[in-house]
Symmetry: C2
Subunit: 155 residues, 2 copies
């Protein structure tokens, strides 16, 4: 995808950074993932990457606005492509297993959030962006819980 390379290199250059093979493969790994990845998942998918390089390069790519560090209740971070390279979206977070899935954008939500942010007085806060997480259970964890309840109730 040479077009993406253009965007990426253009974002890196002002920071005095290059688009190196490591960084290219990090971006490719994140692009091919269906959900935000942990460092360990990234290491699995990119054989031969040094952990310190992965951390360093993800930091660089984040500063360039190309990668977004996703914060969850897990005690480690996850990474995904920034919205400039994908689409604005939010997250579904399973409180059972910690799974993070992308949630499709909802026009009504975005409209009302835009309105709320625009209506905020500058002497209170100057909004730039927003993040929405819906917490709940993924289908697997719902099933797991149902089975556990049945086992208890039935025995």
């Amino acid at each position: 995808m040479p077009e993406v390379d253009q965007i990426v290199a253009a974002r890196l250059r002002p920071l005095g950074q290059r688009l190196t093979p490591r960084r290219r493969s990090l971006l490719e790994i994140l692009r091919s993932a269906r959900h935000p990845l942990t460092i360990h998942e990234i290491l699995e998918r990119g054989r031969g990457l040094a952990m310190s390089s992965v951390y360093r390069n993800l930091t660089v790519l984040e500063q360039a606005g190309l990668v977004h560090r996703v914060i969850t209740r897990e005690d480690f971070a996850r990474y995904e492509l920034a919205e400039e390279l994908t689409e604005h979206h939010h997250h579904l977070i399973c409180s059972g297993c910690g799974l993070v899935r992308d949630m499709p954008t909802d026009v009504r939500v975005e409209r009302v959030m835009r309105s709320v942010m625009a209506g905020m007085p500058a002497d209170v806060f100057t909004p730039q962006s927003h993040r929405i997480d819906v917490m709940g259970m993924c289908p697997d964890c719902v099933q797991r819980r149902e089975r556990a309840t049945q086992a208890k109730g039935g025995g």
Copy 2:
């Protein structure tokens, strides 16, 4: 506030936990704070608390649904009273200094979030709650940045 004590004890009992002096003072510290507190802020305010006890008791209180662990981009957690003891609310997070402030509930936002969550198919996700953070700049950081820009442009 003996009424709160009732609620608190009732939430703790099913877990086989008591409302101890430590836990009472933790709740009081959180209640008297205007924003979610870090462990260190809690230790400052509650002289004589052991750090390990603070961590342990906050975990217990969180399991009892009385305290909420707030996740930010800072690399440490913050704690606040759970919504059962306060009000449903969201957060303004300053990307300059990390300050977290409560954002008053907006009826339109809640309505549309409720609708989105209710409309989610069960084979995709079973929503339980949501979290919204508005990222941006607090007035102090806006000023700081303006001064910095002026100094550069004017000098």
